[in-house]
Amino acid sequence: MIAVSIHSSDAVLVAAVFLACAVEMVEALTIVLAVGRTRGWRSAFEGTVCALVALALLVAVFGPALVRFPLDWLRVFVGGVLLVFGAQWLRKAILRAAGLKAPHDEDEIFAETVAELDELGARTDRDRLAFVMAFKGVFLEGVEVVVTVLTLGASSHRLGLATLSALVALVLVALVGLIVGRQLSGVPENAMKMAVGVMLLSYGTFWTGEGLGVRWPGADAMLLGFVALYALFAFGAIRVLRHGVPAHEAVS
């Protein structure tokens, strides 16, 4: 009989990286689809592949380098980055859920990108503009995933697991995009962003504390406590902020 042990920290790591990568890749897919449909698929595909290679190189170069850092300093650095990222993601998701910020609309972004590309004139067989747009879209959306993979993976010595989780999300979004053949506007992006924000904040708090000499009660299990605490905070904040916000006042 094979005993399978799943640590709570591994589960949070896999979920955080998977969701972060899925959300960012849904956004990147919208841009690639808009570029491909407007300017042709060849250059859009080439731009996408080059961006993915560049992102993989970032992981390959910085991953092993990060692991060589003294553990305590690595955890403080990683914890700080995750706290900033997590707070930014959670803040945005709370504001959107409370109606204080316009939701991320893939259909609108698709239409805007297509209109922008249409204005830029006729395309050639090998379209430099399409390449650059696809590259930029995938690379910029992917950098956040790379930082998440590197920070979570390196600090918990699970770089392989974090990379695998991101790859699964990437392949899944690409496959669904190929099958559906359009931008994935039905994906509950804000809920996913909120979950990622909660998990990044939880990891950030955990690693910062560990790096600075705090010993958390329950060790790794404390991560789940942080997830519950920040999730409760998010739901409470949404309820409070929703109160008295007319829908037409939401900012774009």
């Binding site: 403080v76 914890g79 700080g80 707070a87 930014q88 950030g204 910062t208 000499g213 942080f226 905070f233």
Partner: protein, 74 residues
């Protein structure tokens, strides 16, 4: 040389924008929290207080940022 300088400036701007973005208050708060927790935990050796303040600091920073954003909209 000036090309290299421009490139370095561009990369630096990208990094700053990437980490600070449109919420400088969250970035500054995080740096402040890290320094404070380092002092309390490493210098004063008050680990439990550091743990409590770390979590409280994150929640307070997030609350302030949310309230500021809500005030801007209203």
């Amino acid at each position: 040389m000036s090309g290299l300088l421009r490139w370095i400036k561009g990369v630096w701007r990208f990094i700053v924008d990437f980490f600070v973005g449109d919420t400088p208050e969250l970035f500054h708060a995080t740096v402040g929290i890290l320094v404070l927790i380092w002092f309390i935990s490493r210098v004063c050796r008050l680990h439990t207080l550091a743990a409590v303040l770390l979590v409280a600091g994150v929640l307070i920073a997030l609350t302030i940022s949310l309230v500021r954003a809500a005030k801007r909209v209203r």
